[in-house]
């Protein structure tokens, strides 16, 4: 229940961090909030020889917004994001997830970058960020690239991030008029409880009230957050009503590839996804309508 012997490296710039990582990978991890990593190291779930502390890299801090959208520095904590006025005003659907993430103490430590880069299937931030078309900024000694977040994850705790890259920020475009998003999660307990399933929905409504685009993202029911293509195909052009949302829920359940674990069976997760999808879509639709009225 103690940290094993590891070598610590303190990076103060992004360049330093990526250099260190390039040198020690795969025997190294970036250490930010530590709320996942330290648990994994203490319990022996993860073993590593080097920790690259990035907590003092100022370039990774801060929530900033302009007309085009929101930039969330990788080191922004869940609590900071939840308290950000611009998030409350213009990106409120993020609050559905960030306010329910773990417990208050953890939210004061855990970073948004960590919630993404841990690539844990049950993480709460990826589904809503994907539904809102977020992309992830990756920097390496040779340059910077921006990847749609849905393409970032490859499997449980595995991502496309290269050994010499670091996630510097999450970028969320300014939602256009007629767009609404929401995140619905199910957990056994009302706080401090991993999602059994989580569904985010992003809905773009046409001027005539029909659905122009729909991004339904399923969390905790597949090796990675799952952007459900069949749901999108089905919903486009339909009216945002209970009937179509109900069918969308059934399609989402069919798209899910859940496992059975301590939190629930695969069948139960599918059943829950049906309900959460309908509820997330209904909430997203309500919010979309509010932006146009």
């Amino acid at each position: 229940m103690y940290l094993p012997d590891v070598e610590f490296h303190d990076a103060t710039t992004v360049a330093e961090a990526t250099e260190l990582m390039a040198r020690f990978a795969p025997d190294a991890r970036y250490l930010a909030g530590g709320t996942d990593l330290l648990v994994d190291l203490k319990t022996g779930r993860d073993k590593v020889g080097h920790l690259i502390a990035i907590g003092r890299i100022d370039a990774l801090r801060g929530v900033a917004a302009d007309a085009s959208g929101l930039r969330i520095g990788a080191l922004v904590t869940a609590a900071e994001l939840a308290a950000s006025p611009v998030v409350r005003e213009r990106f409120a659907p993020l609050l559905d997830a960030v306010r329910e993430l773990a417990a208050p103490q953890i939210r004061n430590m855990a970073t948004i970058g960590g919630n993404i880069t841990s690539a844990v299937p049950s993480a709460d931030m990826p589904p809503i960020l994907i539904a809102m078309r977020a992309s992830v900024a990756l920097q390496s000694p040779t340059g910077e690239r921006f990847i749609p977040l849905e393409s970032y994850f490859l499997g449980p705790r595995v991502s496309i991030r290269a050994a010499d890259e670091i996630v510097t920020a999450l970028l969320v475009p300014q939602p256009p008029s007629g767009f609404g998003a929401a995140y619905a999660r199910f957990a056994h307990r009302r706080a401090n409880s991993c999602a059994v399933a989580g569904v985010a929905a992003g809905l773009q409504l046409n001027a005539d009230g029909t659905i122009g685009d729909a991004r339904v993202v399923l969390g905790a029911v597949a090796p990675t957050p799952l952007l459900a293509a069949t749901v999108r195909a089905y919903l486009i052009g339909r009216s945002p009503d209970n009937e179509s949302f109900g069918e969308a829920g059934r399609l989402a359940a069919a798209a899910a590839a859940p496992i059975t674990d301590v939190r629930g069976t695969a069948d139960f997760r599918r059943e829950i996804v049906t309900v959460l999808t309908r509820r997330a879509l209904a909430a997203a639709s309500q919010r979309a309508k509010e932006t146009t009225s």
Binding site: M1, Y2, L3, P4, D5, V6, E7, F8, G34, T35, L38, V39, K42, T43, A53, G55, A79, A102, A103, P104, Q105, I106, N108, M109, F186, H188, R189, R190, A191, N192, S193, C194, D261, V262, R263, G264, T265, F268, E271, I272, V275
Partner: protein
């Protein structure tokens, strides 16, 4: 690697060197001596280690000390200024926000941060802010009340949440709710739990557990562990006594460390002592053990099957205990019944999960006395078991019980930590401290038995019970522990609540390759009680009789000998039924709520102390290994108290071995002692932590302390008063028989204006006679119980009774249950401290509800626990907790001190059935397996549709 940093803690700068990977928690506790910050899980799940970093609550177990330079760190020790409590601390002290105290530091700090940011939070905001701080004792009710008070909200009337009968001026302090005697120590972080104590020269121990569920140890090589720098001793099965130990004397079946065979994942194989805990842990990993793996069994039915692997040679077919009880004639009873219904129910394997993990420190004094500090509910039984295993006289063993952070039955037996620390200390000549991690707590087990129950109940046309037949298989795990008693309790308590003229119980406790199960709050009874309550309600519904009414018709009456020979004295069970029905508007609600809304009733009660001690005969000397024949009386007193009055007469020191484990026994014993002495409780100081200065007390189990300890302290108090009487009479110039005592005065009964200060009389006594000391002891009445095998289990001087109504909302699409409201009424006799009683009820409601809908220890197919942490083994948070109304009915138990009975365990028993019924009422389907998860609710609804 070592690093040096300057940290600012509570406004003070500390320049300190520490290991690079050290957490802030370990640094605060081990290097700065700030032990008010607690280690409850070490993985960020429980909040006991909450500290403020720049006024934000964070888990110190997940912060690295190396990152803390330049941050303002506040611990619990930093809140009180010049000894004056902060407003938040004061509010927790005054509003029942503290029981065991282990969560208190974190709760208080989180609250402090919340109120700095948001001085007038809503209840919802309070609950959100505190949702990362787990509490296992209070049911969060007292905590919520404390935070509201700290936020300066207007004092709510207690009547909104509580109903306590009035006593007029029958008593002075009994029946009132003075502040807990330990509250200030707990709210300031001063209270010392075992792991907080560091004796000079302390070294640290760890135990290596088996990685496999069943196997023979072929070879152990400890050479690499011994060679590790900082390791001082390594012991294996070869180094421990060839003496079996356990709880039930007829079934001692554990060695301190496995001699040749392991029977569950975690079974103790070796132990290490080293300069620090981390080194001991690393050394354990270096011990090489070669096993020959044996086939294992993980459920009682496979274990019973022909050809199943046998865990112990002595338990044929893996049957640890078989109980066959038949009272009256059940078949005839069923023949007389109008309706007979048979149902199967399954319980769950849950854990007590006290926030404080087990811990021990052992040292040997120069004269050969073993001094053992241990987090225990039962100091005497630990002393007894140490004497047994180490072959020493009891008199050479001194048990210290520091502050205990909750027990609930999980600390009711001698632990491997007690034994290994003692052996390692003897070997190294240094004090050895050993603390279980949260994972080790789960792996060591001793949780609640999972029971497989097949029940058949017969009732007549009016719903009167004619016969009850039950068959129960208890999944025992690998060793006996308390299991024999558990299996008996599972059957014996059923006939105490309702009149059951014909009763049969077949019980089997079966060994499986899992951690041993033991005693947990309500010992053996909650699951059968849940099942019985469900079945009774099902049949009431079937007959068209209101479920409350069917209970009234069958309810136990006072002064009844039950069918299994238990002697019921006071009993106001019907009054509790009437009260909960009235308070909840039951008649307007039951059967009239919309789909998804439910209301349910459950009832239960418990013993107020076991009628007999766990071992027979007299207090055993080390050479008396044989078992004394059973006699139907207590050979020795179960509780003993000494009251010593200070020479100036201003203070009474109460010496008693009763274990304060957070339930509040120090406070109620102080009150009862004060009542008997005729002085205010503020003049009584209790010392209950040291076996050297107090007499034997059997401990905090079977809800015995208030009744048995209460009698002992009241008698000791009266003994003092009796000694003072002649002196008072002399000073008052009257006969001793004319003197009364109350409110620190001794006075002439017929003319209270003729009085003399209490302390003056005490001084006179001392001047003439020397020390003013009173003693008192308590033995349960002789002859308790019937004359059949197992008749002792369930006997008690008195029984409690209670009814609970639960109201829920069920999400009909996800199966998620929201507990809206709980209403509980209890017959606990005289409530010595009503706030303490309500606190026990509130805690029991949340613990009981949590095990009904959330908790289950899960295993993989190799016998490994899948959720040995508070992340996946989920106990309720403050956001899951419902509003609770706790009421008490007027009752007086002639066999209890001042009329008191128990509350701690009896309050758990109605809860499970009430929750289950409320869910059934909301959904139209019964879930008969615990826990009643959303998944099971949806499955049952689907089943019904088909």
């Amino acid at each position: 690697m070592s690093v040096t940093r300057t940290l600012t803690v509570n406004g003070r700068k500390y320049t300190v060197a520490f290991d690079d990977g050290e957490t802030l928690l370990d640094l605060l506790r081990n290097r700065l001596g700030l032990t008010g910050t607690k280690k409850g899980c070490n993985l960020g799940d429980c909040g006991a280690c909450t500290v403020l970093i720049d006024n934000k609550p964070m888990n110190a177990c997940l912060l690295l000390a190396r990152d803390m330079e330049g941050r303002a760190i506040t611990t619990i020790e930093g809140l009180a200024v010049d000894g004056a409590l902060s407003p938040v601390q004061k509010a927790f002290v005054e509003n029942g926000g503290i029981q065991c105290g282990f969560c208190t530091s974190g709760m208080v700090l989180t609250t402090t941060a919340l109120l700095r940011e948001n001085p007038s939070p809503t209840d919802d905001e309070i609950k959100t802010a505190l949702s990362g701080n787990l509490c296992r004792c209070t049911g969060y009710t007292g905590i919520l009340r404390s935070v509201r008070q700290a936020a300066g909200m207007t004092k709510e009337s207690d009547a909104a949440h509580e109903d306590t009968p009035s006593f007029g001026d029958r008593f002075s302090t009994v029946g009132s709710s003075p502040t807990r005697v330990d509250a200030v120590d707990k709210v300031t972080g001063r209270a010392q739990y075992t792991a907080d104590i560091t004796l000079p020269g302390t070294i640290h121990g760890k135990i290596l557990g088996s990685p496999i569920a069943h196997g023979i140890i072929k070879r152990i090589d400890t050479s690499k562990a011994r060679a590790l720098e900082g390791v001082l001793a390594v012991i294996t099965g070869a180094d421990v006594p060839d003496i079996l130990y356990g709880v039930s004397p007829a079934r001692y079946d554990e060695y301190v460390l496995a001699k040749d065979r392991v029977r569950y994942v975690g079974d103790q194989v070796a132990a290490v002592a080293a300069i620090d805990e981390r080194t001991a842990e690393m050394a354990c990993a270096l011990i090489e053990v070669e096993y020959e793996e044996l086939p294992a069994v993980f459920d009682p039915f496979s274990a019973l099957a022909e050809g199943a692997p046998q865990l112990h040679d002595r338990y044929e077919r893996n049957i640890n205990t078989h109980i066959s009880h038949h009272f009256g004639d059940v078949e005839r009873g069923f023949g007389d019944s109008f309706l007979v219904r048979e149902e199967k129910f399954t319980g769950n394997h849950v854990h007590q999960a006290p926030l404080e993990p087990c811990a021990s420190i052992a040292k040997w004094d120069a004269d050969g006395t073993l001094v053992l500090y241990t987090s225990t509910q039962v100091p005497h039984y630990v002393q007894y078991m140490m004497a047994h295993v180490l072959e020493m006289p009891l008199g050479k063993i001194r048990i210290m019980r520091p502050t205990v952070g909750g027990g609930f039955g999980g600390k009711a037996e001698t632990t491997p930590l007690d034994l290994c620390a003692s052996l390692l200390s003897r070997k190294t000549g240094r004090p050895v401290k050993m603390v279980f991690s949260r994972e080790e707590m789960f792996r060591h087990g001793r949780g609640r038995h999972k029971q497989h129950m097949n029940f058949r109940l017969g009732v007549d046309r009016d719903g009167k019970i004619r016969a009850f037949d039950s068959e129960i298989y208890l999944d025992g795990g690998a060793y006996t522990s308390f299991g024999v008693a558990t299996a008996y309790y599972a059957g014996s308590m059923i006939p105490t609540l309702y009149h059951i003229p014909n009763y049969r119980y077949e019980g089997y406790r079966v060994m499986t390759n899992k951690p041993a199960c033991g005693a947990m709050r309500g010992h053996g009874v909650p699951q059968p009680r849940f099942a019985f309550e469900c079945l009774l309600t099902m049949m009431a519904d079937e007959l068209g009789i209101d479920p409350v009414e069917i209970r009234r018709r069958n309810a136990m009456d006072p002064n009844t000998i039950t069918v299994n020979d238990l002697d019921i004295g006071s009993c106001e069970f019907r009054a509790t039924l009437d009260k909960v029905a009235e308070k909840t508007n039951w008649n307007e609600k039951y059967g009239r709520l919309p789909r998804g809304k439910g209301i349910g009733i459950g009832c239960g009660g418990f013993v107020s102390g076991a009628g007999y001690s766990i071992y027979r005969g007299q207090v055993q000397l080390s050479h008396e290994k044989g078992r004394a024949p059973f006699e139907k009386r207590s050979i020795f007193p179960h509780a003993n108290a000494i009251v010593h009055i200070s020479e100036d007469g201003t203070a009474a020191v109460l010496l008693i071995g009763a274990a304060e484990i957070g339930q509040g026994s120090d406070t109620v014993l102080t009150q009862m002692c004060a009542e008997a002495l005729g002085i205010p409780p503020s003049r009584v100081r209790i010392r209950s932590e040291d076996s050297d200065i107090s007499g034997l007390d059997l401990g905090a189990y079977s809800s015995r302390v208030t009744l048995m300890g209460g009698h002992a302290v009241a008698r000791a108090g009266r003994d003092v008063v009796a000694k003072m009487m002649p002196y008072a009479a002399k000073l008052l110039e009257c006969e001793a028989s004319e003197v009364s005592v109350r409110d620190a005065k001794m006075y002439v009964t017929s003319d209270p204006s003729r009085s003399v200060p209490w302390e003056e009389v005490a001084r006179q006594y001392f001047n003439d006679t020397g020390p003013l000391v009173g003693t008192g002891w308590y033995k349960p009445p002789d002859g308790l119980g019937g004359d059949y095998k197992g008749a002792t289990v369930g006997t008690s001087p008195a029984f409690s009774f209670g009814s609970a109504v639960c109201e829920v909302t069920v999400d009909m699409e996800t199966g998620q249950v929201t507990l809206d409201r709980f209403t509980d009424y209890h017959d606990c006799g005289t409530p010595i401290n009503p706030r303490g009683v309500h606190g026990q009820v509130e805690g029991a409601v949340i613990m009981g509800a949590s095990e009904t809908i959330l908790e289950e220890t899960q295993f993989d197919n190799k016998g490994r626990i899948l959720n040995p942490d508070f992340h996946s083994y989920q106990i309720m948070t403050i956001r899951d907790a419902p509003e609770i109304f706790s009421g008490l009915v007027d009752s007086y138990e002639p066999r209890g001190p001042f009329g008191a009975k128990e509350i701690g365990e009896g309050s758990t028993l109605p809860v499970l059935g009430a929750v289950a019924h409320a869910i059934a009422n909301a959904t139209g389907v019964w879930v008969t397996d615990l826990p009643i998860t959303p998944e099971r609710i949806l499955a049952a609804m689907r089943q019904k549709k088909r």
